[in-house]
């Protein structure tokens, strides 16, 4: 078992096309959740929020918020199913969205039952 890092990442929708994006260590927004920076301490999370609000003002993204997540072996998994879906695309159209563009998360789509 490798180390698991738990924390919060910040996500938003890119303003011009609405695509779900995640704030990275370099301060950019990536479509891939794996590139998200994870804040472990509350102060770090607050700093991410601050940064995201600035990017909202700069009209890069809109509607940013914090999400519980964990990183394992360099891959990131959000705690809530809704956020896992945003990181993948629709589970009923695995031919579309991030999962189809090589930007998906590592976990599989929740089962189609």
């Amino acid at each position: 078992m490798s180390a698991v890092e738990k924390g919060q990442l910040i996500t938003a929708n890119r303003l011009r096309d609405g695509i779900a994006v995640f704030l990275t260590t370099s301060g950019n927004w990536s479509e891939s959740i794996d590139e998200a920076v994870l804040a472990v301490e509350p102060e770090a999370a607050a700093a991410l929020e601050q940064r995201a609000r600035e990017d909202e003002r700069k009209t890069i993204v809109t509607g940013s918020y914090l999400v519980d997540a964990e990183r394992r072996d360099g891959r990131v998994r959000a705690a809530h199913i809704r956020e896992r879906m945003r990181a993948l695309g629709p589970t009923v159209r695995t031919d579309l969205g991030k999962q189809a563009e090589g930007k998906g998360a590592f976990f599989a789509a929740p089962e189609g039952e």
Binding site: D17, I81, M85, R93
Partner: protein, 551 residues
């Protein structure tokens, strides 16, 4: 056929120009999201899980082939090749970019379409029977009155800032296919013994968080009083409707809180207090509108088509489709074709651009250039000669649109749910797919007969689960999806809200549960009795026992 008049056309163009400017200002940063959100919602643009979503109005669900082809073009050029037809007789595109939206609205305006009145606290686009103008049981086509209401309510200053959104549905037939009892205002046409027609006015129905069946405030209102009377209803609502709490702001809450009788009194008092202006203008307007909905030039045909009968005999699959998917037309020799957008394992209501084009071609060739979107998320060719049915079926077969499950267990209504929707608590579509797979056997579906299964991915109830004979509501239980089942709902004439059966189920258990419920029905039904009839006769008990006793 229905079309916009010159006024509308100009108006839609102006709105599109305004929106282009608003979107530019937003992208430049001159507008904040809080400022822009109401503007984009007014133009049907939502922000969803994966991208923006554009909801395009299809008034009365009526489309020409040209308009359907335009939807196909939008799907291809600005989306990912498909669209989702909804229970509000609209279409939604799931992968829209803000920066493209004004171009899309222009492309819609070219074919007299738009996305206005698909959201916001206004009177939403009026919905009607998807068989309007075609159904054998119809007293009169409800669309002219729907259109009169639309023109009256669009941008009516008094009704642009209602406490909450407002939905009106109209049916001209005794068999209610427009769910009028679960709308804010429902209108249902009746004919009395003297042969006159009048409108039953039903108020305060609705689904969502607080589902309710509407109450009749007038049983038989002459048509020329309609606008005046509805105005009185709107005034009472505008005056007393709650604006402090959006969950209590719908007219259904008002009707419920002050009581039916009091509400009726208030409306009658308001109606009586105003001088009734001459209705001459409205009547002239109604005549003008009716011309847009004039019936097509039907041929006079024999009721019986030998070609149709022979094709059924030689092709059992066609015969089954014809039995399940056709509706009785009011003109001899014609039929209503219901194209099921519920192929087994497919996504309810989704159609590809190619499928849209093929349906458009079929409509152009065989159905007077007309298509309808039904609130069950299917497509209707309203006026087809019986002799052409076989050719249509073959074309549908070739493009995966010949599912013969109209009105059966496979014809499931499902909202987009957590696969697309930002408000969802659970997925809906995979549940629909698992149930459809379970009943893939057509003999079993035919044996079960008419049944409505409705699925919503959250309490907003876009999938109308409360009025499904079997309703399924997806919820979030500590981060896991789980599903609550209700039985006994109906949106038809004898509307009712379904009752929760018992504890919920995990997603992978739902199809089993539905099968158990339907097997219980098959065991207990009387000859000819549909599921709803058996449920109403026996109540929940046998179903509960079958579902929970063994657990």
């Amino acid at each position: 056929m229905y079309r916009y008049d010159e006024f509308d056309n100009q108006f839609v163009r102006e709105r599109t120009r305004q929106f282009r400017d608003q979107a530019d200002r937003r992208l430049r940063g001159d507008l904040t999201e809080d400022e822009f959100r109401p503007l984009r919602l007014m133009n049907g643009l939502y922000l969803q899980l994966h991208a923006y979503m554009l909801r395009v109005a299809i008034p009365y669900g009526t489309l020409s082939s040209r308009q359907m082809r335009r939807l196909a073009l939008i799907a291809e050029r600005w989306d990912k090749g498909y669209g989702h037809f909804t229970t509000r007789q609209n279409i939604q595109f799931n992968w829209i970019k803000l920066e493209d939206t004004a171009d899309i609205l222009d492309a819609l305006a070219d074919v007299e379409m738009h996305a206005i009145q698909t959201s916001g606290n206004c009177i939403r686009n009026v919905t009607t029977d998807h068989w309007a103008g075609a159904a054998a049981d119809e007293i009169a086509d409800p669309r002219p009155v729907g259109e009169l209401l639309r023109q009256w309510s669009s941008l009516h200053p008094e009704f642009s800032y209602l406490p909450r959104k407002f939905k009106i549905a109209v049916t001209g037939a005794p068999n209610d296919r427009a769910a009028v009892k679960v709308h804010d205002i429902g209108l249902r046409l009746h004919r009395n013994e003297a042969g006159e027609t009048g409108w039953e006015v039903i108020v305060g129905g609705g689904l969502g968080r607080t589902p309710m069946v509407g109450v009749t405030v007038r049983g038989f209102l002459p048509q020329h009083e309609l606008i005046g009377y509805l105005e009185a209803i709107m005034r009472v609502y505008n005056l007393y409707g709650r604006r402090d709490n959006k969950y209590k702001a719908r007219i259904k809450i008002l009707v419920h809180e002050i009581g039916h009788d009091k509400f009726r009194e208030e409306v009658e008092a308001e109606y009586a207090s105003r001088p009734h202006p001459s209705t001459e203008v409205e009547e002239r307007e109604l005549k003008r509108i009716a011309a847009y909905f004039a019936p097509p030039a039907f041929e006079s045909l024999p009721r019986w088509s030998p070609a149709f009968e022979e094709a059924k005999l030689s092709h059992p699959a066609f015969a089954r489709w014809a039995k399940n998917n056709l509706g009785p037309h009011r003109v001899d020799g014609y039929a209503i074709v219901n194209i099921s957008l519920k192929p087994e394992g497919g996504i309810p209501g989704d159609a590809t651009a190619e499928q849209m084009r093929i349906m458009a071609d079929l409509a152009e060739r065989y159905s007077f250039d007309e298509l309808r979107v039904s609130h069950a998320q299917n497509i209707v060719l309203p006026h087809v000669r019986k002799g052409d049915l076989f050719a249509i079926w073959q074309a549908l077969e070739d493009t995966g649109l010949a599912a013969a499950n109209y009105g059966l267990a496979g014809d499931i209504i499902a909202c987009p749910g957590l696969d697309y929707c930002a408000l969802a608590t659970a997925r809906s579509i995979p549940i629909a797919q698992s149930i459809a797979r379970r009943f893939a056997n057509s003999a079993k579906q035919d044996e079960i007969g008419r049944i409505k299964i409705n699925i919503s991915g959250c309490i907003n109830a876009c999938g109308h689960h409360h009025v499904g004979h079997i309703g399924i509501l997806g919820l979030d239980k500590k981060g896991e999806e789980f599903y609550q089942i209700t039985l006994g709902g109906s949106s038809a004439e004898s509307a009712s809200i379904g009752t929760i059966l018992g504890p919920g189920f995990a997603g992978h258990e739902v199809a089993d549960a539905i099968e158990t419920i339907l097997d219980t029905y098959l065991k207990h039904r009387e000859p000819g009795e549909e599921f709803l009839g058996t449920y109403r006769r026996l109540g929940a008990k046998p179903f509960k026992e079958a579902l929970y006793a063994t657990a």
